[in-house]
Protein backbone atom coordinates (compact mmCIF):
# COMPACT_ATOMS: atom_id res chain seq x y z
CA UNK A 1 0.00 0.00 0.00
CA UNK A 2 1.41 3.35 -1.06
CA UNK A 3 0.24 5.33 1.97
CA UNK A 4 2.64 4.18 4.66
CA UNK A 5 1.72 6.56 7.50
CA UNK A 6 1.66 4.95 10.94
CA UNK A 7 0.02 7.15 13.57
CA UNK A 8 2.24 7.98 16.55
CA UNK A 9 3.38 10.67 18.97
CA UNK A 10 7.16 10.38 18.65
CA UNK A 11 9.40 13.38 18.10
CA UNK A 12 9.64 12.40 14.43
CA UNK A 13 5.83 12.34 14.14
CA UNK A 14 5.60 15.79 15.71
CA UNK A 15 8.44 17.43 13.77
CA UNK A 16 7.36 19.78 10.95
CA UNK A 17 7.26 18.07 7.53
CA UNK A 18 9.47 20.76 5.96
CA UNK A 19 12.23 20.20 8.54
CA UNK A 20 12.06 16.42 8.03
CA UNK A 21 12.33 16.80 4.25
CA UNK A 22 15.33 19.12 4.67
CA UNK A 23 17.10 16.76 7.10
CA UNK A 24 16.33 13.82 4.82
CA UNK A 25 17.79 15.68 1.82
CA UNK A 26 20.98 16.49 3.78
CA UNK A 27 21.30 12.89 5.03
CA UNK A 28 20.73 11.46 1.54
CA UNK A 29 23.36 13.78 0.11
CA UNK A 30 25.83 12.96 2.91
CA UNK A 31 25.30 9.21 2.51
CA UNK A 32 25.72 9.43 -1.27
CA UNK A 33 28.91 11.53 -1.10
CA UNK A 34 30.64 10.57 2.15
CA UNK A 35 29.99 6.84 2.63
CA UNK A 36 33.03 5.36 0.91
CA UNK A 37 33.93 2.39 3.13
CA UNK A 38 32.18 -0.28 5.17
CA UNK A 39 32.77 1.47 8.51
CA UNK A 40 31.04 4.68 7.37
CA UNK A 41 28.28 2.49 5.88
CA UNK A 42 27.88 0.85 9.30
CA UNK A 43 27.67 4.33 10.89
CA UNK A 44 24.92 5.36 8.40
CA UNK A 45 23.08 2.10 9.14
CA UNK A 46 23.34 2.79 12.88
CA UNK A 47 21.88 6.30 12.38
CA UNK A 48 19.01 4.73 10.39
CA UNK A 49 18.30 2.13 13.10
CA UNK A 50 18.41 4.93 15.69
CA UNK A 51 15.91 7.01 13.66
CA UNK A 52 13.48 4.07 13.45
CA UNK A 53 13.81 3.50 17.21
CA UNK A 54 13.23 7.22 17.81
CA UNK A 55 10.05 7.03 15.69
CA UNK A 56 8.81 4.15 17.87
CA UNK A 57 8.77 1.79 14.90
CA UNK A 58 11.52 -0.44 16.23
CA UNK A 59 13.81 -2.83 14.38
CA UNK A 60 10.72 -4.75 13.19
CA UNK A 61 9.42 -1.64 11.43
CA UNK A 62 12.80 -1.17 9.76
CA UNK A 63 12.99 -4.84 8.77
CA UNK A 64 9.52 -4.60 7.16
CA UNK A 65 10.77 -1.76 4.94
CA UNK A 66 13.89 -3.70 3.93
CA UNK A 67 11.77 -6.77 3.10
CA UNK A 68 9.45 -4.56 1.02
CA UNK A 69 12.37 -3.55 -1.24
CA UNK A 70 13.99 -7.01 -1.35
CA UNK A 71 13.72 -7.27 -5.14
CA UNK A 72 15.47 -3.91 -5.59
CA UNK A 73 18.27 -5.19 -3.32
CA UNK A 74 18.55 -8.50 -5.20
CA UNK A 75 18.55 -6.79 -8.61
CA UNK A 76 21.10 -4.15 -7.61
CA UNK A 77 23.39 -6.57 -5.86
CA UNK A 78 23.09 -9.19 -8.62
CA UNK A 79 23.89 -6.85 -11.50
CA UNK A 80 26.77 -5.11 -9.69
CA UNK A 81 28.40 -8.39 -8.65
CA UNK A 82 28.86 -9.15 -12.35
CA UNK A 83 31.00 -6.04 -12.92
CA UNK A 84 32.31 -4.97 -9.51
CA UNK A 85 33.97 -6.45 -6.46
CA UNK A 86 31.74 -7.81 -3.67
CA UNK A 87 32.87 -4.96 -1.39
CA UNK A 88 31.90 -2.23 -3.87
CA UNK A 89 28.62 -3.95 -4.76
CA UNK A 90 27.69 -4.17 -1.06
CA UNK A 91 28.70 -0.55 -0.48
CA UNK A 92 26.65 0.80 -3.42
CA UNK A 93 23.60 -1.33 -2.57
CA UNK A 94 23.86 -0.45 1.12
CA UNK A 95 23.86 3.28 0.36
CA UNK A 96 20.72 2.99 -1.80
CA UNK A 97 18.91 0.79 0.74
CA UNK A 98 19.66 3.22 3.58
CA UNK A 99 18.38 6.21 1.58
CA UNK A 100 15.19 4.32 0.57
CA UNK A 101 14.36 3.26 4.14
CA UNK A 102 15.01 6.82 5.34
CA UNK A 103 12.57 8.11 2.70
CA UNK A 104 10.10 5.46 3.93
CA UNK A 105 10.59 6.78 7.47
CA UNK A 106 9.42 10.19 6.25
CA UNK A 107 6.23 8.60 4.83
CA UNK A 108 5.75 6.49 7.97
CA UNK A 109 5.83 9.50 10.29
CA UNK A 110 4.24 12.24 8.14
CA UNK A 111 0.65 12.65 6.96
CA UNK A 112 0.37 13.17 3.21
CA UNK A 113 -1.53 16.40 3.89
CA UNK A 114 1.47 17.76 5.86
CA UNK A 115 3.85 16.69 3.08
CA UNK A 116 1.63 18.47 0.58
CA UNK A 117 1.50 21.62 2.68
CA UNK A 118 5.32 21.56 2.82
CA UNK A 119 5.45 21.05 -0.96
CA UNK A 120 3.00 23.92 -1.37
CA UNK A 121 5.25 26.22 0.70
CA UNK A 122 8.43 25.03 -1.03
CA UNK A 123 6.91 25.74 -4.44
CA UNK A 124 5.79 29.29 -3.55
CA UNK A 125 8.78 30.92 -5.35
CA UNK A 126 7.62 29.18 -8.55
CA UNK A 127 4.56 31.47 -8.57
CA UNK A 128 6.76 34.05 -10.31
CA UNK A 129 7.01 31.81 -13.37
CA UNK A 130 3.28 31.08 -13.39
CA UNK A 131 3.26 27.76 -11.47
CA UNK A 132 0.40 27.34 -8.95
CA UNK A 133 1.92 25.58 -5.86
CA UNK A 134 -1.50 24.31 -4.72
CA UNK A 135 -1.98 22.61 -8.09
CA UNK A 136 1.48 20.99 -7.84
CA UNK A 137 0.61 19.68 -4.34
CA UNK A 138 -2.77 18.40 -5.57
CA UNK A 139 -1.10 16.66 -8.51
CA UNK A 140 1.31 14.90 -6.14
CA UNK A 141 -1.53 13.84 -3.82
CA UNK A 142 -3.57 12.44 -6.69
CA UNK A 143 -0.54 10.56 -7.99
CA UNK A 144 -0.08 8.93 -4.58
CA UNK A 145 -3.80 8.12 -4.42
CA UNK A 146 -3.95 6.68 -7.93
CA UNK A 147 -1.03 4.24 -7.74
CA UNK A 148 -2.94 1.56 -5.74
CA UNK A 149 -5.96 2.06 -8.03
CA UNK A 150 -3.90 1.34 -11.16
CA UNK A 151 -2.28 -1.64 -9.39
CA UNK A 152 -5.82 -2.86 -8.61
CA UNK A 153 -6.77 -2.55 -12.31
CA UNK A 154 -3.75 -4.65 -13.29
CA UNK A 155 -4.72 -7.30 -10.77
CA UNK A 156 -8.37 -7.33 -11.95
CA UNK A 157 -7.31 -7.67 -15.60
CA UNK A 158 -4.88 -10.47 -14.78
CA UNK A 159 -7.53 -12.33 -12.73
CA UNK A 160 -10.06 -12.05 -15.58
CA UNK A 161 -7.49 -13.29 -18.10
CA UNK A 162 -6.37 -16.13 -15.84
CA UNK A 163 -10.02 -17.18 -15.43
CA UNK A 164 -10.27 -17.46 -19.22
CA UNK A 165 -6.94 -19.24 -19.61
CA UNK A 166 -5.09 -16.32 -21.25
CA UNK A 167 -1.30 -16.64 -20.80
CA UNK A 168 0.62 -13.78 -19.16
CA UNK A 169 1.81 -11.53 -21.99
CA UNK A 170 2.67 -7.87 -21.69
CA UNK A 171 0.55 -6.76 -24.66
CA UNK A 172 -2.56 -8.47 -23.21
CA UNK A 173 -2.09 -6.47 -20.03
CA UNK A 174 -1.00 -3.07 -21.34
CA UNK A 175 -3.93 -2.28 -23.68
CA UNK A 176 -6.81 -2.94 -21.23
CA UNK A 177 -4.80 -1.32 -18.43
CA UNK A 178 -4.31 1.80 -20.53
CA UNK A 179 -8.04 1.95 -21.37
CA UNK A 180 -9.10 1.47 -17.73
CA UNK A 181 -6.53 4.03 -16.55
CA UNK A 182 -7.67 6.64 -19.07
CA UNK A 183 -11.31 6.07 -18.11
CA UNK A 184 -10.36 6.43 -14.44
CA UNK A 185 -8.50 9.66 -15.25
CA UNK A 186 -11.68 10.99 -16.87
CA UNK A 187 -13.80 10.06 -13.85
CA UNK A 188 -11.25 11.50 -11.44
CA UNK A 189 -11.13 14.76 -13.41
CA UNK A 190 -14.93 14.98 -13.04
CA UNK A 191 -14.66 14.28 -9.30
CA UNK A 192 -11.99 16.97 -8.85
CA UNK A 193 -14.07 19.43 -10.87
CA UNK A 194 -17.15 18.57 -8.80
CA UNK A 195 -15.37 18.87 -5.44
CA UNK A 196 -12.66 21.42 -6.01
CA UNK A 197 -14.68 23.95 -8.03
CA UNK A 198 -11.54 24.65 -10.07
Amino acid sequence: MITLYRPGTSILHRAPAGVKILVLAILALAISLLVRDLSSLALAAAVTVGAYLLAGLGVTGLAAQVVAIRWIIVTMLGTQLVFLSARLAALNTGRVVIVIVLVSLLSLTTLTADLLDATDRACQPLRRIGVDPAQVALLLAMTVTTIPVIAGFASTIRDAQRARGVPLRLQFLVVPLLIMSLRHADDLADAVAARASE
Binding site: Y5, V149, A193, A194, R195, S197
Partner: protein, 229 residues
Protein backbone atom coordinates in the same frame (compact mmCIF):
# COMPACT_ATOMS: atom_id res chain seq x y z
CA UNK B 1 -37.96 31.22 -16.36
CA UNK B 2 -40.05 30.67 -13.23
CA UNK B 3 -37.47 31.28 -10.47
CA UNK B 4 -37.48 27.67 -9.20
CA UNK B 5 -34.26 26.29 -7.64
CA UNK B 6 -33.74 24.00 -10.64
CA UNK B 7 -34.92 25.13 -14.06
CA UNK B 8 -34.42 23.58 -17.50
CA UNK B 9 -35.84 25.40 -20.50
CA UNK B 10 -35.88 23.38 -23.73
CA UNK B 11 -32.46 21.90 -22.95
CA UNK B 12 -30.70 19.57 -25.36
CA UNK B 13 -27.26 17.93 -25.08
CA UNK B 14 -25.40 16.22 -27.90
CA UNK B 15 -22.09 14.35 -27.71
CA UNK B 16 -20.97 14.44 -31.34
CA UNK B 17 -23.70 12.67 -33.31
CA UNK B 18 -25.36 11.22 -30.21
CA UNK B 19 -28.23 13.12 -28.60
CA UNK B 20 -28.04 12.51 -24.85
CA UNK B 21 -30.90 14.87 -23.94
CA UNK B 22 -33.42 16.71 -26.07
CA UNK B 23 -36.10 19.29 -25.39
CA UNK B 24 -36.11 18.99 -21.59
CA UNK B 25 -38.13 21.66 -19.78
CA UNK B 26 -38.78 21.35 -16.08
CA UNK B 27 -38.93 23.53 -12.94
CA UNK B 28 -38.18 21.84 -9.61
CA UNK B 29 -38.48 23.14 -6.05
CA UNK B 30 -39.18 19.86 -4.26
CA UNK B 31 -36.74 18.78 -1.54
CA UNK B 32 -36.19 15.21 -2.74
CA UNK B 33 -36.21 14.64 -6.48
CA UNK B 34 -35.85 11.13 -7.93
CA UNK B 35 -34.67 10.47 -11.48
CA UNK B 36 -35.42 7.07 -13.02
CA UNK B 37 -35.13 5.55 -16.48
CA UNK B 38 -33.37 2.86 -18.46
CA UNK B 39 -29.61 2.75 -18.98
CA UNK B 40 -28.60 5.48 -21.44
CA UNK B 41 -31.90 7.31 -21.02
CA UNK B 42 -30.29 10.64 -20.03
CA UNK B 43 -30.47 10.41 -16.21
CA UNK B 44 -26.75 10.89 -15.65
CA UNK B 45 -26.51 13.67 -18.25
CA UNK B 46 -29.37 15.50 -16.49
CA UNK B 47 -27.67 15.01 -13.09
CA UNK B 48 -24.27 16.16 -14.38
CA UNK B 49 -25.77 19.34 -15.79
CA UNK B 50 -26.79 20.39 -12.29
CA UNK B 51 -23.21 21.30 -11.33
CA UNK B 52 -21.90 22.14 -14.76
CA UNK B 53 -20.03 18.88 -15.47
CA UNK B 54 -22.04 18.76 -18.72
CA UNK B 55 -23.01 21.92 -20.61
CA UNK B 56 -26.19 22.23 -22.68
CA UNK B 57 -25.85 22.24 -26.47
CA UNK B 58 -28.99 24.39 -26.60
CA UNK B 59 -31.56 25.74 -24.16
CA UNK B 60 -31.11 27.31 -20.74
CA UNK B 61 -30.30 25.81 -17.35
CA UNK B 62 -30.43 27.62 -14.01
CA UNK B 63 -29.57 25.93 -10.72
CA UNK B 64 -29.88 27.85 -7.43
CA UNK B 65 -30.19 30.98 -9.56
CA UNK B 66 -26.85 30.35 -11.31
CA UNK B 67 -26.03 29.42 -14.89
CA UNK B 68 -23.89 26.21 -14.75
CA UNK B 69 -22.34 26.93 -18.14
CA UNK B 70 -20.90 30.28 -17.06
CA UNK B 71 -20.89 30.16 -13.26
CA UNK B 72 -19.72 26.58 -12.73
CA UNK B 73 -17.14 27.55 -10.10
CA UNK B 74 -19.67 29.34 -7.87
CA UNK B 75 -22.22 26.59 -8.44
CA UNK B 76 -19.87 23.76 -7.49
CA UNK B 77 -19.30 25.36 -4.10
CA UNK B 78 -23.05 24.98 -3.50
CA UNK B 79 -23.75 21.66 -5.23
CA UNK B 80 -22.27 18.42 -3.87
CA UNK B 81 -22.02 15.51 -6.31
CA UNK B 82 -21.89 11.80 -5.41
CA UNK B 83 -20.84 9.50 -8.27
CA UNK B 84 -21.86 5.85 -8.65
CA UNK B 85 -18.29 4.53 -8.55
CA UNK B 86 -16.75 5.46 -5.20
CA UNK B 87 -13.24 4.56 -6.44
CA UNK B 88 -13.40 7.35 -8.99
CA UNK B 89 -14.16 10.08 -6.46
CA UNK B 90 -11.43 9.50 -3.90
CA UNK B 91 -8.91 12.28 -4.45
CA UNK B 92 -6.62 12.15 -1.39
CA UNK B 93 -4.64 9.16 -0.08
CA UNK B 94 -6.18 8.66 3.38
CA UNK B 95 -9.78 8.74 4.62
CA UNK B 96 -9.39 11.83 6.82
CA UNK B 97 -7.43 13.69 4.15
CA UNK B 98 -10.07 12.96 1.54
CA UNK B 99 -12.81 14.37 3.77
CA UNK B 100 -10.67 17.38 4.70
CA UNK B 101 -10.11 18.06 0.98
CA UNK B 102 -13.66 19.47 0.90
CA UNK B 103 -12.45 22.33 3.12
CA UNK B 104 -9.65 23.21 0.70
CA UNK B 105 -9.33 26.94 0.21
CA UNK B 106 -11.43 27.85 3.26
CA UNK B 107 -9.97 30.15 5.87
CA UNK B 108 -9.94 27.77 8.85
CA UNK B 109 -7.18 26.94 11.30
CA UNK B 110 -5.54 23.51 11.08
CA UNK B 111 -7.02 22.55 14.47
CA UNK B 112 -10.50 23.57 13.35
CA UNK B 113 -10.17 21.59 10.12
CA UNK B 114 -9.04 18.52 12.10
CA UNK B 115 -11.89 18.85 14.62
CA UNK B 116 -14.51 19.22 11.91
CA UNK B 117 -13.06 16.30 9.95
CA UNK B 118 -13.12 14.10 13.06
CA UNK B 119 -16.77 15.00 13.75
CA UNK B 120 -17.78 14.20 10.16
CA UNK B 121 -15.97 10.84 10.23
CA UNK B 122 -17.70 9.95 13.48
CA UNK B 123 -21.10 10.76 12.01
CA UNK B 124 -20.48 8.32 9.17
CA UNK B 125 -18.89 5.63 11.35
CA UNK B 126 -15.48 6.05 9.72
CA UNK B 127 -13.46 7.24 12.75
CA UNK B 128 -11.46 4.02 13.10
CA UNK B 129 -10.41 4.29 9.44
CA UNK B 130 -9.35 7.96 9.63
CA UNK B 131 -5.68 7.33 8.85
CA UNK B 132 -6.25 4.28 6.65
CA UNK B 133 -5.58 4.44 2.90
CA UNK B 134 -8.95 5.37 1.37
CA UNK B 135 -8.66 2.67 -1.28
CA UNK B 136 -8.34 -0.05 1.36
CA UNK B 137 -11.97 0.50 2.44
CA UNK B 138 -14.79 -1.77 1.29
CA UNK B 139 -17.08 -0.55 -1.52
CA UNK B 140 -19.77 0.47 0.96
CA UNK B 141 -17.33 2.31 3.20
CA UNK B 142 -15.89 4.11 0.16
CA UNK B 143 -19.36 5.30 -0.84
CA UNK B 144 -19.97 6.44 2.75
CA UNK B 145 -16.65 8.29 2.57
CA UNK B 146 -17.70 9.91 -0.72
CA UNK B 147 -21.02 11.02 0.78
CA UNK B 148 -19.31 12.19 3.97
CA UNK B 149 -16.78 14.22 1.95
CA UNK B 150 -19.49 15.80 -0.18
CA UNK B 151 -21.73 16.73 2.77
CA UNK B 152 -18.69 18.05 4.63
CA UNK B 153 -18.53 20.89 2.09
CA UNK B 154 -21.99 21.93 3.36
CA UNK B 155 -23.67 22.19 -0.06
CA UNK B 156 -27.16 23.62 -0.64
CA UNK B 157 -27.99 20.89 -3.15
CA UNK B 158 -26.79 17.28 -3.23
CA UNK B 159 -26.81 15.41 -6.54
CA UNK B 160 -26.27 11.64 -6.41
CA UNK B 161 -25.82 9.67 -9.61
CA UNK B 162 -26.75 6.03 -8.92
CA UNK B 163 -25.12 6.13 -5.47
CA UNK B 164 -26.08 2.54 -4.60
CA UNK B 165 -25.33 0.93 -7.98
CA UNK B 166 -22.27 -0.99 -6.73
CA UNK B 167 -23.36 -1.66 -3.14
CA UNK B 168 -24.70 -4.67 -1.25
CA UNK B 169 -28.01 -4.62 0.61
CA UNK B 170 -26.68 -3.42 3.98
CA UNK B 171 -24.67 -0.59 2.45
CA UNK B 172 -27.53 0.36 0.13
CA UNK B 173 -29.72 0.75 3.22
CA UNK B 174 -27.05 2.82 4.96
CA UNK B 175 -26.65 5.20 1.99
CA UNK B 176 -30.44 5.37 1.58
CA UNK B 177 -30.81 6.33 5.23
CA UNK B 178 -28.18 9.07 4.97
CA UNK B 179 -29.64 10.46 1.76
CA UNK B 180 -33.34 10.26 2.49
CA UNK B 181 -33.73 10.38 6.28
CA UNK B 182 -30.81 12.46 7.52
CA UNK B 183 -30.10 14.90 4.72
CA UNK B 184 -31.53 18.37 5.28
CA UNK B 185 -30.46 19.78 1.90
CA UNK B 186 -32.30 19.49 -1.40
CA UNK B 187 -31.49 16.17 -3.08
CA UNK B 188 -31.53 15.02 -6.69
CA UNK B 189 -30.91 11.29 -6.98
CA UNK B 190 -30.66 9.33 -10.23
CA UNK B 191 -31.30 5.69 -9.37
CA UNK B 192 -32.40 2.22 -10.43
CA UNK B 193 -33.43 1.52 -6.84
CA UNK B 194 -37.19 2.06 -6.83
CA UNK B 195 -37.25 2.17 -3.02
CA UNK B 196 -35.14 5.32 -3.15
CA UNK B 197 -37.32 6.82 -5.89
CA UNK B 198 -40.51 5.94 -3.96
CA UNK B 199 -39.35 8.02 -0.97
CA UNK B 200 -38.80 11.16 -3.04
CA UNK B 201 -41.27 14.05 -3.30
CA UNK B 202 -41.33 13.91 -7.10
CA UNK B 203 -39.95 11.46 -9.67
CA UNK B 204 -38.85 12.32 -13.22
CA UNK B 205 -38.58 9.51 -15.73
CA UNK B 206 -36.23 9.81 -18.69
CA UNK B 207 -36.40 7.63 -21.82
CA UNK B 208 -34.23 7.98 -24.95
CA UNK B 209 -32.91 11.38 -23.85
CA UNK B 210 -36.35 12.90 -23.27
CA UNK B 211 -38.33 13.69 -20.11
CA UNK B 212 -40.94 10.97 -20.56
CA UNK B 213 -42.96 11.25 -17.35
CA UNK B 214 -43.00 13.14 -14.05
CA UNK B 215 -45.13 13.44 -10.98
CA UNK B 216 -46.08 11.64 -7.80
CA UNK B 217 -43.50 8.85 -7.21
CA UNK B 218 -45.84 5.86 -6.86
CA UNK B 219 -47.69 6.68 -10.08
CA UNK B 220 -44.53 7.35 -12.15
CA UNK B 221 -42.84 4.17 -10.84
CA UNK B 222 -45.99 2.14 -11.55
CA UNK B 223 -46.09 3.33 -15.19
CA UNK B 224 -42.31 2.71 -15.54
CA UNK B 225 -42.59 -0.85 -14.24
CA UNK B 226 -45.69 -1.51 -16.38
CA UNK B 227 -43.89 -0.33 -19.54
CA UNK B 228 -40.99 -2.67 -18.80
CA UNK B 229 -43.03 -5.66 -17.62
Amino acid sequence: MSGARIEFDDVSVAFGERRALHGVSVALDQRRIGIIGSNGSGKSTFARMLNGLVAPSSGQVRVLGLDPAHQAKQLRRRVGFVFSNPDAQIIMPTVAEDVAFSLRGRELSLAEKRDRTAAALERFGLTEHADAPAHSLSGGQKQLLALCAVLFGDPDLVVADEPTALLDLANTRRIRRHLLDELSQQLVVATHDMRIAAQCDIVLRFENGGLHDQGEPAAVIHRYERDHA
